[in-house]
């Protein structure tokens, strides 16, 4: 089951640039939450703060509190422990080219020292089925490299890889922006299926996508969270003038 996320007074910097300002937000468990906003508004930085990937950049800095379930991730746990519970899918598919499809999916468990073959086989099959990729790859799981798949398949492989460690939260940073419409719709169907079991946070530039998959939507602008509300509210009667301007295409 997924867990909710609570964010209090979150501030983030890259070097001297203040990229996130006083973000306060509660993301409910077992639902999909979309984050929209123009390029450079801080939404990617925000999701990277939720699994402490932000600090892998040497010039980055974070202040504030983020609670994933009961865990205060900046005080109660090490980054590696958080990242095992909060999975992430990136904008560009990044399968491991030197590994087979099977090893790509199993990599998260293997690197953490889990080597029970029977369970691994089961997890790989289950994750690939969850990512709707099983039928396309089941015949050459160990023969083909992860890089030999098409772009859309690679992204679903990356989703399977993230799901294999059974995370509580799945962060997706523009997961479909490098994909064609058919692959995009597959990813969206997937999000729809997965949100019963996981809490999903998805960053997107595509507002129709946000409307299709997410229960709640947040609008970011210049490092601030302008509005966070149920998706239908955001897209039909937003409270803030800036949200309305962005959604109707007057800027951004």
């Amino acid at each position: 089951m997924g867990v909710g996320i609570e964010v209090k007074n979150l501030n983030a910097w890259y070097g001297q640039t203040h990229t996130l300002r006083d973000i306060n937000l509660t993301i409910p468990a077992n639902s999909a939450t979309a984050l929209i906003g123009p390029s450079g508004c801080g939404k990617s930085t925000f999701v990277r703060c939720l699994n402490r990937m932000h600090e892998t950049n040497p010039s980055a800095r974070v202040e504030g509190m983020v609670k994933v379930g009961d865990i205060d991730i900046y005080n109660d746990a090490a980054p590696v422990e958080i990242r095992r519970r909060v999975g992430m899918v990136f904008q560009r598919p990044n399968p491991f080219p030197t590994m087979s499809i099977y090893d790509n999916v199993a990599s998260g468990l293997k690197l953490n020292g889990f080597h029970n073959r029977k369970v691994l086989d089961e997890v790989v099959e289950r994750s690939l089925k969850q990512a709707a990729l099983w039928n396309e790859v089941k015949d050459d799981l160990k023969k083909k490299s992860g890089a030999s798949l098409s772009g859309g398949q690679q992204q679903r492989l990356c989703i399977a890889r993230a799901l294999a460690v059974d995370p509580e939260v799945l962060l997706m940073d523009e997961p479909a922006s490098a994909l064609d419409p058919a692959s995009t719709s597959k990813i969206e169907d997937l999000i729809f299926e997965l949100k019963d079991e996981y809490s999903i946070v998805i960053v997107t530039h595509n507002m129709q996508q946000a409307a299709r998959v997410a229960e709640n939507t947040g609008f970011f602008l210049n490092g601030q969270l302008v509005e966070f509300a149920p998706t239908s509210t955001i897209f039909t009667k937003p409270h803030d003038k800036r949200t309305e301007d962005y959604i109707t295409g007057r800027f951004g």
Binding site: M53, G87, N94, P95, F96, P97, T98, S148, R161, V165
Partner: protein
């Protein structure tokens, strides 16, 4: 048929909406046309086929000249060593006699010395070079990265004879008084460290060789590690990997083909290195099991004895030693390449 269908069909509502209501672009309209000179200039440039053809021919000539030089070297080596080739035949490569007085020559001790010192040098240098590269690329603070990398590269710029001098005055005493006794005490049972330890010998030569090939291997390793995309590292980190796990899975695994390429280059240097090795290897054509024993390499014997080679057969035999070095280099490099090809065959084909 198809055309009329498309013409008759209504455009989808969404598309129509976007077409009918273009975004107002405020303040971006540019007055006037682009200068006519641009198109005029570009239209006049032509296809450029002649220049391309000339460039292709030039590059081809350069590439062929490399092949030509190799063939020429091989030709001269064979021609100049004819006397020795006739006298000893293929037996030259498998006998260990080296008696200029009696005119009996064999290359085996030299081949043995070359292979053993190069192999040992790789065993010492590869782990060190990998660690240096990992430190510089992944662990060293950014401001220090340039200076440290520069220092390791400086090692490559030191002349071979200076390494030789350093080895004679520093490394040999250390070997004789400290490292040698230590090895005898803890690894004496292997039989690799037996006999009298003069400080000079196969092991000392291997150590100095390893220092000399370290910068080549580490700088190439650094380059290929730097070429690993950030997305790969982030992918591994996002799965909950520690820094070492990330380096192992994302960096070393993705860079392995390039790293092996660097190792092969280092091996090439080790096989042919002459001066420093000659100064510390002991220069005695022997096939000994002990690494303390003096040895001789193909390159060293040419350097040492070429000027004093009296008699045509002696000279011819030395040139055939050169031929042997050439062949050893070719064979070892071929084996290394085949090994790389064999190991990475699957992933390389799939990754395309």
């Amino acid at each position: 048929m198809a055309d009329t269908r498309i013409k008759d069909a209504e455009p989808p509502a969404l598309l129509k909406l976007q077409v009918n209501e273009p975004h107002a672009v405020a303040g971006h309209a540019v007055e006037g046309k682009a200068p006519a000179a641009i198109r005029e200039f570009l239209n006049k440039r032509g296809s450029g086929a002649a220049g391309d053809g000339a460039f292709g021919a030039l590059v081809l000539a350069c590439a062929l000249s490399i092949l030509g030089i190799v063939v020429l070297i091989l030709f001269v080596l064979i021609q100049q060593s004819k006397l020795s080739l006739h006298a000893f035949g293929l037996k030259f490569f498998i006998t260990s006699a080296w008696d200029p007085v009696m005119g009996d020559f064999g290359a085996l001790p030299f081949i043995y010395g070359t292979l053993v010192t190069s192999f040992l040098a790789l065993c010492i240098a590869v782990p060190l070079a990998l660690c240096v590269a990992i430190f510089i690329m992944e662990i060293c603070p950014k401001p220090l990265r340039g200076p440290v990398a520069f220092l390791t590269e400086l090692l490559a710029a030191i002349p071979s004879v200076v390494y030789g001098l350093w080895a004679v005055f520093v490394l040999v005493p250390i070997m004789r008084d400290h490292l040698g006794p230590f090895l005898v005490k803890f690894f004496g049972w292997t039989g690799l460290f037996s006999g009298t330890n003069f400080g000079e010998g196969l092991l000392t030569a291997s150590i100095i060789l390893s220092i000399m090939i370290l910068p080549v291997i580490s700088s190439i390793t650094r380059e290929v590690m730097g070429a690993v995309p950030v997305s790969q590292k982030e992918g591994v980190l996002a799965l909950g990997a520690t820094r070492w796990e990330m380096i192992r899975i994302a960096v070393l695994r993705n860079a392995r083909v390039g790293i092996v390429g660097g190792v092969i280059l280092g091996l090439g240097r080790a096989l042919g290195e002459t001066m420093a090795v000659t100064m510390v290897i002991g220069n005695h054509p022997d096939i000994a099991k002990s690494l303390f024993a003096p040895g001789y390499t193909l390159a060293s014997v040419i350097a040492n004895e070429f000027t004093e080679a009296t008699g045509d057969l002696y000279l011819s035999a030395l040139i055939e030693i050169g031929l042997a070095l050439f062949l050893v280099t070719v064979v070892v490099n071929t084996i290394a390449r085949l090994l790389v090809w064999f190991v990475t065959r699957n992933s390389a084909r799939e990754a395309r």
